[in-house]
Amino acid sequence: MGTNLGKFLFKNNVAILFLLLSVGAFAAANVSLPFLFEELFTRFSRNTFMVLSLLIPVVAGLGLNFAIVIGAIAAQIAIFLTVLWGGAGFVGVLMAVGMAVPMAILFGFLVGKLFNSMKGTEMIGGMVAGFFSDGLYQFLFLFVLGGIIPIANDQLMISTGIGVLNAIVLENSIHHGLDNVAMIHILDFAFFASLALSAIMLIVRGVKKQPLNLKQPAKVVLPLAVLYALGFIPAVGRFLSADRLMLFYAVMIALAIVVLYSLYHIIRRKESEKPTRFILYIVGAAVVFGLTYIPELERSLMVVRLPVLTYIVIISLCLGIKWFMNTKLGQNMRTVGQDRAVAASSGINVNRIRIIAMIMSTSLASIGQIISLQNIGTMATYGSHQQVALFSIAALLVGGASVQRATVKQALLGVFLFHTLFILSANAGQSLLGNAQIGEYFRVFVAYAVIAVALAMHAWVRKSNKQVITQIDPRVAATAASAESK
């Protein structure tokens, strides 16, 4: 038991260190819990998607994808065009995504090609590719737009007409385009979409004379239908017509789902299975419910209002990645990531898989950047994309991920810890040193320090894992070292 705990602590040392740091910073920062919660959940909705876009390249053995900057660039070009062409609200977001993703696919393909010619040094290549594209992007926005392609729009262009403004205000465009979709609309859409899809599926099965298997679509449609019907009750309808969900309610709904789910499993379980696990879930839910009676916490939960659709999109991506890892393509990526030689000799087209991984990552990153900017409401034309890779990678590493291994859980944990520290560091700096400016520098310092510390600590864990072998055979240590230096 003791050794298990030790192992757990050791394996999660990075996350634990940051947890401790966060607690310390919270004590020093002198901010209220509701403030922290509000900031944290805003940042969580902004940045998580981007961090998740890093996972697939790690699985495919491409390491931390510094080239997500290029996805962000695609997003910003798309947003510029959306604003130019008057796209607004949710439709504007769809427009931006519709333009960003094809660009990101192209860019991802090119970067994938590049990475295939520099296997083993993808991370440094990704950084350089990021800087290079940033240069091209600046050339495009500073000179080509207005300079070569005439654009008459004083909301977007600087007064000379050549070059794009430093900051593009998205206020009347896509600001909160995703965040502000009312729950009732989401529900309507989900209900009718599931109906339509089920109908198509059943028709296809009917035509192909396969068994209809009505149970399967019913599982999805029926619960949605119940919710849809509930929406017609005035009180529920009013609740659902909001576009934000109070965190307090979100927690309550989640707890209710956990309890119902556990009860379902306890009732439906086979004789042989022990219900211990599910009973534990219920106990856990009860404990959490009890905690919400702590006034400070209750207030914090009441303050935070979650943008519903944004969170649905993030959760879908988490589930999507899990699902994807269980597909043929996902398995091929894992194989390539583990050993390219084995993959090749098993008939897997290694280069193709790596390119697909890059395309997926870059596309997801472009969507991530749109999600982030529609929430912030202004786009720093020449700056919004620049730190994207740095901060996302820092967050992922803080969650305990490494160059070879990263999971959805680590990404989520990492975003929470990293941004907690990020929020608090400014305040902590301010209250400790009494200077707002220093607090600002402190933030950036923390981001870089996080990466440095996380990488160093990871090296430490890896080294001690390898020690078994390296002590026997020091040459393996050298392989590891030379692999790292590459």
Partner: protein, 535 residues
């Protein structure tokens, strides 16, 4: 019609160069349906290269391709990748393991050919997005494993399995392929004990009976005589003979391979024997338990005298491989071990190494070699790092030893007959057997007081094997080196060891003299089986 189908495989005038060095010259051969075709030759003769060409391996195409034509069932083919070769019904068990340690056995068997079920997205975006049908993958893997008699759960991770098991997993993977016409086995028996190898040979025969043609590469002549129908010998990249097995003999094949007559494994072994009875105890092992999956040691006790050559043999899975791995701290273990009277501390990693115990692992790719580094670097690196303190204290000596490096490497290359272009060659560009020789050279360079070698002659041809055995005997005689040798080949142990411990069911069943009768060895080895039958 029938006439065209006669040959499953025709290789015509195949030549290949690696950066200007010809490694295959105008090799032609034909293999019939259901035939077991042995491909023989010394280390570096070009056997693996020929098979890599056949299988469309990337290493061939990235080094300038080859010349000549390949026909499968009478049709000319041009494989650009292993994928093409697999489509055409060719399977291959490579000389080096092609397994992913982090995957389960089932995942490894199905790698690249996973069973899937359609999903909604897969109907739109294509079969890449079908989801894995794990129950089917596991069930198929089970069938393949049962077919070759491997009794281990298909959901076990490959990492940490004994090498013998890994070999069978590779074979299971090939057997699981459904449209196979031609199977290539590149030294599949090198890591197997005799009984395991027998089992494998039986599998091969049953495959051949189903009409699958098999190309079989091995250095063990007895296996060729036992199962092969036809054989070809390569020497320095040239075909020296192709004959039906019925028309030749083991002696003739051996002579064809090396180009001269071959005598016994170690000449006049009586001369090399020295009495070590009176010497101090070099290694004492009491109640050693090693938790190595598939090779568990459960209370091993023995003593080795200084200057002795002590052999450890036994069937696979009985724990003989676990002993050295445990001593070196590769797997968790406990027990009382003393090296020249000093207690070995298992929890302190690398303790054995610092007490003068050097280890040549049976898994050379896993823990043995730096494939991207030069031969000289690989030979010297271990020695340089173990004396790290010394080097960092006196910076200049570092330079000095770097200077000695090449000379020493050159000596080793000559001594062990490492076939290479020079000490600067990349180890990854050596043939399998020659890589093994580099491993050995590296361990010897550490100047250990006790040398532990596990499967020292894995994949090494008969000529070189003799050389290595003689060199080990010489080291013992001239320098008083204590050697512990773990081997699956009893003949090898008996040729140089003073005493041979037979491990059975994780314990030492008996310690025998090398000239003990075959019956005694057989009895000790099968002790576990008998015990379980009785009880």
């Amino acid at each position: 019609m029938m006439e065209e189908q006669r040959y499953v495989l025709e290789l015509q005038h195949i030549s290949k160069e690696y950066s200007g060095n010809p490694v295959l010259q105008d090799v032609s051969l034909t293999v019939k349906k259901g035939q077991i075709y042995a491909l023989m030759g010394e280390n570096g003769a070009g056997k693996s290269t020929l098979m890599n060409i056949l299988f469309g391996m990337p290493v061939i195409h990235s080094t300038g391709g080859f010349t000549g034509t390949i026909k499968i069932s009478g049709e000319e083919v041009n494989f650009l990748s292993p994928h093409d070769a697999m489509e055409a019904g060719i399977g291959m068990v490579h000389q080096e393991f092609m397994l992913i340690p982090g995957f389960t056995i089932a995942e490894n068997i199905k790698v690249g050919r996973e069973d899937t079920l359609p999903t909604l997205p897969s109907r739109v975006f294509g079969p890449d997005l079908e989801r894995l049908n794990r129950p089917k993958m596991n069930a198929d893997a089970r069938v393949a494993l049962d077919n070759i008699g491997l009794d281990i759960s298909e959901e076990t991770k490959v990492a940490g399995l004994p090498v013998g098991y890994m070999q069978f997993v590779e074979i299971a993977r090939e057997i699981d392929k459904k449209n196979i016409k031609l199977l290539v086995f590149d030294e599949p028996t090198a890591v197997l004990t005799e009984s395991e190898a027998d089992q494998l040979l039986k599998v091969m025969q049953s495959l051949a009976a189903k009409g699958i043609a098999i190309i079989f590469i091995t250095h063990r002549l007895s296996e060729v005589m036992q199962v092969a129908d036809y054989m070809t010998v390569l020497r320095d990249g040239e075909l020296v003979a192709s004959k039906a097995i019925a028309d030749t003999s083991a002696v003739e094949i051996a002579e064809l391979m090396v180009g001269r007559a071959i005598e016994k494994l170690v000449d006049d072994d009586k001369n090399t024997k020295v009495s070590t009875e009176q010497n101090e105890v070099a290694l004492s092992v009491k109640d050693l338990y090693v938790d190595m999956p598939g090779e568990t040691a459960r209370g091993v006790t023995f003593e080795v005298k200084s200057g002795e050559i002590f052999g450890i043999g036994g069937l696979a899975g009985q724990g003989k491989v676990g002993i050295p791995n445990g001593l070196m701290g590769m797997f968790s273990s406990h027990g009382d071990v003393e090296i020249f009277g000093e207690k070995l501390n298992f929890t302190k990693l690398g303790n054995a190494l610092s007490k003068g115990l050097a280890f040549v692992s049976e898994d050379r790719r896993g823990v043995g070699l730096l494939l991207e580094e030069s031969i000289a670097h690989n030979i010297m690196f271990g020695a340089m790092t173990t004396k790290r303190d010394y080097l960092s204290n006196f910076g200049i000596t570092k330079l000095l030893s770097a200077g000695r490096m090449n000379r020493h490497a050159k000596d080793m290359i000559k001594l062990l007959d490492i076939r290479c272009v020079g000490g600067g060659q990349r180890v990854g560009a050596l043939s399998g057997g020659n890589q093994q020789k580099v491993c050995l050279a590296s361990a010897l360079t550490m100047k250990p007081r006790i040398l532990v070698v596990s499967e020292p002659t894995r994949g090494i041809d008969i000529g070189a094997k003799k050389l290595i055995m003689e060199y080990l005997a010489h080291l013992r005689q001239e320098e008083g080196l204590t050697i512990i040798m773990i081997s699956s080949e009893l003949a090898e142990l008996r040729s140089i060891c003073d005493r041979i411990a037979i491990v059975s069911d994780g314990k030492i069943e008996d310690i025998l003299a090398p000239d003990a009768s075959d019956a005694q060895f057989g009895l000790a080895m099968s002790a576990a089986a008998q015990n379980s039958e009785v009880s």
